[in-house]
């Protein structure tokens, strides 16, 4: 029997399937394997740090009009990249929603999550993470419209309160209401900007989130004075970058980058004078931190000039804070150095 010529349709179908088979793996960004044990090696091999950040929160992580990411959390990503790769620009930012952030880190989609995430016991344990450090001491507060005439949180009984779901904010709010016997109606909207819109439109009497977030929102309003942040802070919100559990080397590195930033402020090392100090400062701790002595960088598995790279690209803790958070009206408060009264930022010795 004579074989019929192959049907054109089937040939086409075959071509389409073939195209699929080729296109899919090509499109999947097959990154070099990053088992939990060697994040540092994986980042080195890839040449970029993948950093999970907020989808857009003034002061912490927000793309500017040129599409360049800027903010406090972003500077921490840059600092880690500078310490590890010697170049603060070798960072790929992955904006993560509150919902997707944890799986993004768990699955290795990002190396580090610097996204206003509160350190809690359960996140440290059952989610499989390690919080590297507390980079920002925050607390939850309320913002209301001045025209409402409310001066403190106790007067919020019966109010409607806007809150973002799936965060510690929501649970703190219910805890606080229960403890203070305050009844409230929640309005629970997923997206941050929808939440803020609902508050501004008057759907809620009060808006609750971390005080830093309130300040950031208030600062960008046309008339910041129309809004009041109530004096009560109802929770502790220690925020910091987190990494996957089980990779102590990388966690150590991130932790000591933070301590380096704080220590640098303590020692007076700034972007402007870091080169000069690295060359000539006589204080032994400065010499150790900036890599002229003591091999501290090598102990962390990075170049000995790691802190020079970090300070050169982002500055010390005070500079990072002043560049990102001071403009939106956030005071140093508990985030001042421990040497000032009320300050909590403290770095263990570099030796």
């Amino acid at each position: 029997m004579k074989m019929p010529s192959r049907p054109t349709f089937l040939r086409g179908l075959g071509a389409a399937l073939l195209a699929t088979a080729i296109a899919l793996p090509a499109a999947a960004q097959q990154q070099p394997a990053a088992p939990a044990s060697s994040t540092i090696d994986a980042i080195r091999a890839r040449g970029t740090l993948v950093c999970g950040v907020n989808t857009g929160l003034a002061g912490f992580a927000q793309p500017d009009s040129q599409g360049v990411w800027r903010g406090f959390d972003v500077d921490y990503c840059r600092a880690v990249a500078a310490a590890l790769l010697g170049d603060a620009n070798k960072v790929r930012y992955v904006p993560a929603t509150a919902q997707a952030r944890f799986t993004a880190l768990q699955s290795g989609e990002v190396d580090i999550l610097a996204r206003n995430t509160t350190w809690t016991l359960s996140r440290d344990t059952s989610l499989g993470f390690d919080f590297a450090a507390i980079t920002f001491f925050d607390g939850q507060g309320f913002m209301v419209k001045r025209s409402l005439g409310v001066n403190n949180a106790a007067q919020l009984d019966g109010a409607t309160i806007c809150v973002q779901p799936g965060t510690t904010t929501e649970q703190n709010l219910t805890d606080w209401a229960r403890a203070n016997r305050i009844r409230f109606t929640p309005v629970v909207i997923e997206r941050l900007e929808d939440n803020i819109n609902a508050y501004l439109a008057g759907r809620c009497d009060a808006y609750t989130t971390d005080v830093s977030g309130l300040a950031a929102t208030r600062a960008v309003q046309a008339n910041p004075n129309d809004h009041v942040i109530l004096p009560e802070v109802i929770s502790k919100e220690p925020l910091g970058p987190l990494v996957r559990h089980g990779d102590q080397r990388f966690a150590d590195l991130v932790r000591w980058v933070h301590f380096g930033l704080v220590g640098a402020e303590e020692l007076g090392i700034t972007t402007a004078n870091v080169q000069e100090m690295a060359a000539s400062d006589a204080r032994p701790e400065v010499q150790r931190m900036l890599g002229r002595n003591g091999d501290l960088g090598r102990m962390l598995g990075v170049d000995n000039a790691w802190m020079v790279n970090v300070i050169r690209s982002v500055g010390n803790y005070g500079e990072v804070f002043a560049r990102n958070l001071t403009p939106i009206g956030i005071q140093r408060g508990p985030n001042a150095l421990w040497t000032t009264p009320g300050g909590l930022q403290y770095a263990p010795p570099f030796r």
């Binding site: 344990t125 409607t160 109606t185």
Partner: protein, 400 residues
């Protein structure tokens, strides 16, 4: 693979050849292909499963449904059953399911009524009515539902605040906190009246059935409606009177920040309901129109020739036939409405998706959270399908 050969002799008597282990045997080929396909699918599933298990273990992510019995701590704005943030996740999720069902049931009823009206209006002989209905259907069907929901929610938010609330009728307030209407203070008498109402409906139905049976025998039409009015309206009112006729109304009033008292329809629920109903009604209108058009013109003419009035033609002749065409696509529209109600998460109505989403966010157990969402919707979808199939079968039986 292919059907049995077309030769009628083989049709009558299926061949009973022994299985030969040869490529030429169609059944062997069939088994071979099945093994290949099942093998490939099985391998993929096994690969994904083992990856997931490995990932969960390596990353020390908690698994299992133990979290269902932990305290939820999440606030819920509206709930059909009593709920406190101190309750468990299980109860919070139950509240979510009930909220989904609430919006789905009300939405299905309203969308059916409005959709049917618009579908009939599209066939109206009044040019203006037909064109407006057509315009509505075209525009609504061509816009994404999510966009419409966001639009309605924006409209709801731009209403005045509670202190400047609009008051169309005394005691009814309209503000960006939703609708406030006076509510009856519920007492035993009302429960009794409600039960009497249900009993009235059942009795009316029984009466109508008996009347129809009698009519089949003697051909005399009997009026059902006086009995219906007496049973459905009279019985509850009588019960209520006997129980002392309590008549206390809870009027909403502005106290502090918000209205207290009365019934609230929240802006989130209202925006979701309006969006779902207007969207689905446009699709239902098309279904109804196609159903009516499917009944041939001869049926209309024959009915008119019998002297039936146009309302009766529609009710007795056209609709029973059209329904057979209408029911299957109507089922899928009901299913779509229910599934579309999951968009509530975008405008802050706390349905099952919203609450499961929050749960998975707080517990970090994504797989369990999404499994719950899928399970709930599969159950609802299956129930609606089964019910509509049953109804469809009932209607089909009418055919003689």
């Amino acid at each position: 693979m292919s059907d049995a050969t077309a030769d009628p002799r083989f049709r009558r008597k299926p061949p009973k050849r022994p299985l030969r282990l040869s490529w030429a045997d169609e059944r062997i080929r069939g088994i071979f292909w099945q093994i290949i396909v099942v093998g490939i699918v099985g391998t993929i599933v096994w690969w994904l499963w083992s990856n997931t298990a490995h990932n969960l273990e390596v990353r020390r992510i908690a698994t299992g449904f133990g979290f269902l019995h932990r305290e939820a701590g999440l606030p819920i704005a509206e709930s059909l059953i009593s709920y406190e943030p101190t309750d468990t996740y299980l109860r919070a999720l139950t509240v979510g399911v009930l909220n989904t069902l609430k919006v789905a049931v009300i939405g299905i009823v309203l969308a059916t009524i409005i959709g049917t009206a618009i579908g009939i209006a599209r066939l109206s002989r009044n040019f203006l009515v037909a064109k407006i209905a057509g315009f509505y259907v075209e525009v609504i069907r061509d816009l994404p539902l999510l966009l419409q929901l966001l639009f309605w929610y924006t409209i709801m938010q731009s209403l005045p605040g509670p202190r400047q609330a609009m008051q169309p009728v005394d005691g009814v307030f309209l503000s960006n906190r939703g609708f406030k209407v006076p509510a009856l203070v519920w007492e035993n008498a009302h429960t009794a009246a409600a039960l009497a109402f249900v009993a009235g409906i059942v009795l009316t139905w029984l009466y109508a059935r008996a009347a129809r049976a009698k009519r089949m025998i003697d051909g005399q039409p009997r009026k059902v409606w006086p009995a219906a009015v007496a049973l459905v309206l009279g019985l509850p009112i009588l019960t209520w009177q006997v129980m002392g006729a309590p008549w206390e109304i809870d009027w909403p009033a502005l106290r502090g920040f918000n209205f207290r008292g009365g019934l609230t329809v929240s802006p989130e629920f209202f925006a979701l309901l309006v969006g779902l109903v207007t969207y689905t009604a446009a699709f239902i209108a098309e279904v109804v129109r196609a159903g009516i058009l499917s009944v041939s013109l001869g049926q209309w003419e024959a009915a008119q020739a019998l002297g039936l009035r146009s309302g009766s033609v529609l009710r007795l002749i056209v609709m029973p036939q059209a329904l057979r065409v209408i029911i299957p696509p109507m089922t899928s529209n009901y299913l779509n409405l229910t599934k579309n109600s999951s968009l509530a998460v975008a405008i802050g109505y706390q349905d099952i998706v919203s609450i499961a989403n929050t749960t998975l966010n707080q517990t970090g157990q994504a797989i369990e959270g999404i499994a719950i969402i899928m399970l709930v919707y599969l159950t609802i979808s299956l129930s609606i399908s089964l019910f509509m199939n049953w109804y469809n079968a009932r209607i089909a039986l009418v055919e003689r």
